[in-house]
């Protein structure tokens, strides 16, 4: 029932946004072909954040203390263990997969259902991993930037990854509504950073798009191939080129 109402809300939002998208006529951008659709969705998400998520998360901050919010974040991180395990196995990271099992066993028991993270102190540090990263390691390209209603920045590959991550989480099946608490809690913890990003960016949409793609590229673990992201036009080649001063002689200067 929950899922159905969420789906209805989503399709309604999509419909409303689609009509807005058709009305706007931004110039086509090869780096972000879906921008005419993404921008209105972004505005919608920003509105949801401003009027719902941010106020709720500030209320949450008000009634909790930092240590508790950290612990809640750790609890959710711990429950995402299956997705990290599967992703590590899928990338033939046997050692890390075993580390994840050990971390899960320790933190679920000694760490009181994952609210604490003794495993890190005992020399088993956390390492983020998800199904989208596994797809990336397999060589699946991310595809165009995609601003998903309510969920935020993504791309087709990572969106499918997120669907798997969600399906692999026991909370999805056994604790309805847990995701909402998780979302509010992470929004609360990131509040200062999000507001700082809003203030410092010139175009918050582009800030988010670029940060998302850069972050995902480095998470997949091959930051050498940043140029593979998006259309390639976006990153103007490999990262080394980012640090070449353009002297106007038709692009690249000094020969290597």
């Amino acid at each position: 029932m929950k899922l159905r109402s969420a789906a209805r809300l989503l399709s309604l939002a999509a419909l409303a946004l689609f009509s807005v998208a058709c009305a706007s006529s931004a110039p086509p951008n090869p780096a972000d072909p879906w921008q005419p659709m993404n921008r209105p969705v972004f505005q919608f998400n920003e509105g949801v954040d401003r009027f719902v998520l941010r106020p709720v998360s500030r209320g949450w901050t008000f009634i909790t203390f930092e240590g508790l919010r950290d612990s809640v974040a750790k609890f959710f991180y711990n429950t995402a263990f299956p997705s990290r395990f599967v992703s590590n196995v899928g990338q033939a990271e046997g050692q890390q997969a075993i580390t994840e099992v050990a971390r899960f066993l320790i933190n679920t028991t000694v760490g009181v259902a994952g609210f604490f993270d003794p495993a890190t102190r005992w020399g088993l540090p956390r390492r983020d991993e998800d199904v989208g990263q596994m797809f990336g390691r397999w060589g699946i390209p991310p595809g165009p930037f995609w601003m998903v209603p309510l969920l935020g920045p993504s791309d087709p590959r990572d969106f499918v990854g997120t669907v798997f991550d969600t399906a692999l989480s026991p909370l999805t099946w056994f604790v309805p509504g847990a995701g909402v608490v998780g979302a509010v809690n992470s929004r609360a913890r990131a509040d200062e950073r999000i507001e700082a990003a809003r203030r410092s960016s010139l175009d918050f949409y582009v800030f988010v798009r670029d940060a998302f793609f850069q972050y995902r590229a480095s998470a997949v673990g091959n930051s050498e191939s940043l140029s593979d992201y998006g259309s390639g036009v976006y990153y103007e080649g490999a990262r080394d080129e980012l640090y070449e001063v353009d002297d106007g002689k038709g692009g690249k200067d000094a020969p290597k």
């Binding site: 110039p27 951008n29 780096a31 930092e66 240590g67 950290d70 974040a73 750790k74 993270d117 200062e192 950073r193 507001e195 700082a196 203030r199 410092s200 960016s201 010139l202 175009d203 582009v206 800030f207 798009r209 670029d210 940060a211 850069q214 972050y215 590229a217 480095s218 998470a219 930051s223 976006y234 990153y235 103007e236 990262r239 080394d240 980012l242 640090y243 070449e244 001063v245 353009d246 106007g248 692009g251 290597k256």
Partner: protein, 212 residues
């Protein structure tokens, strides 16, 4: 002469200790000249900044100004501006170039000041470093807070005035690349003046009102 032999032993011990220290330093220096230079530059900067931030006697606004002036000295804002504008740099007139560098510098340092509000006694450790193909050096640091660790890499370049930071890469996200994407989008839609105007408007609307 028991006393003199004791003294000799002490001297030998000291010498041995000094050699061991020198050896350790040599091992660190074995990284290659530029790499160890850049590392010690970053280390010294971090020590200075943390020294200021952790000093309970200095009021917050004073801390911010001091840290800001360190940033002014230790980043090459003109080069960063050129890297951000990339091909667009040529589209800017000399005046627009000057205006952009100036506005960008102010914008970055305002942003930097802003982040100091959230400083909560994190520790910063220098990790590995990398000599880049073009002889820049990337120095990687790990910032450890109460629960999370964040990787912050500094891309360093040696110019006429010694080492300067030319980029900050947080969790794999390069600041130069990120601003380049934004600048690209704005310049192609609104031209150089549009970009400069946006930068200046940001400074107007980002007072240090948020403290909660």
């Amino acid at each position: 002469m028991p006393r003199s032999s004791e003294r000799r032993r002490a001297a030998a011990l000291l010498l041995g200790f000094a050699l061991a220290v020198a050896g350790a330093n040599a091992a660190a220096a074995a990284l290659s000249g530029p790499e160890s230079e850049a590392r010690s530059f970053v280390q010294q900067t971090i020590d200075t900044v943390l020294g200021i931030l952790r000093n309970g006697k200095i009021p917050l606004e004073e801390k911010k100004s001091r840290v800001e002036s360190i940033a002014y000295e230790r980043f090459d804002f003109e080069l960063m501006s050129r890297l951000v504008l990339a091909r667009n740099w040529q589209k800017f007139s000399d005046k627009q170039k000057r205006d952009f560098v100036d506005a960008f510098k102010k914008h970055l340092s305002a942003t930097y000041r802003d982040t100091l509000n959230t400083f909560r006694d994190e520790t910063i450790q220098i990790g590995s470093s990398r000599l880049e193909k073009n002889e820049d050096v990337t120095v990687m640091t790990i910032v450890t807070g109460s629960t999370d660790t964040t990787s912050v890499d500094y891309r360093m370049r040696k110019g006429d005035h010694g080492w300067r930071g030319i980029d900050v890469i947080i969790e794999g996200v390069s600041l130069v690349q990120n601003f380049r994407s934004q600048a690209q989008e704005i310049v192609s839609n609104e031209g150089p003046d549009g970009l400069i105007k946006k930068l200046r408007a940001k400074q107007m609307t980002s007072p240090h009102k948020k403290k909660a």
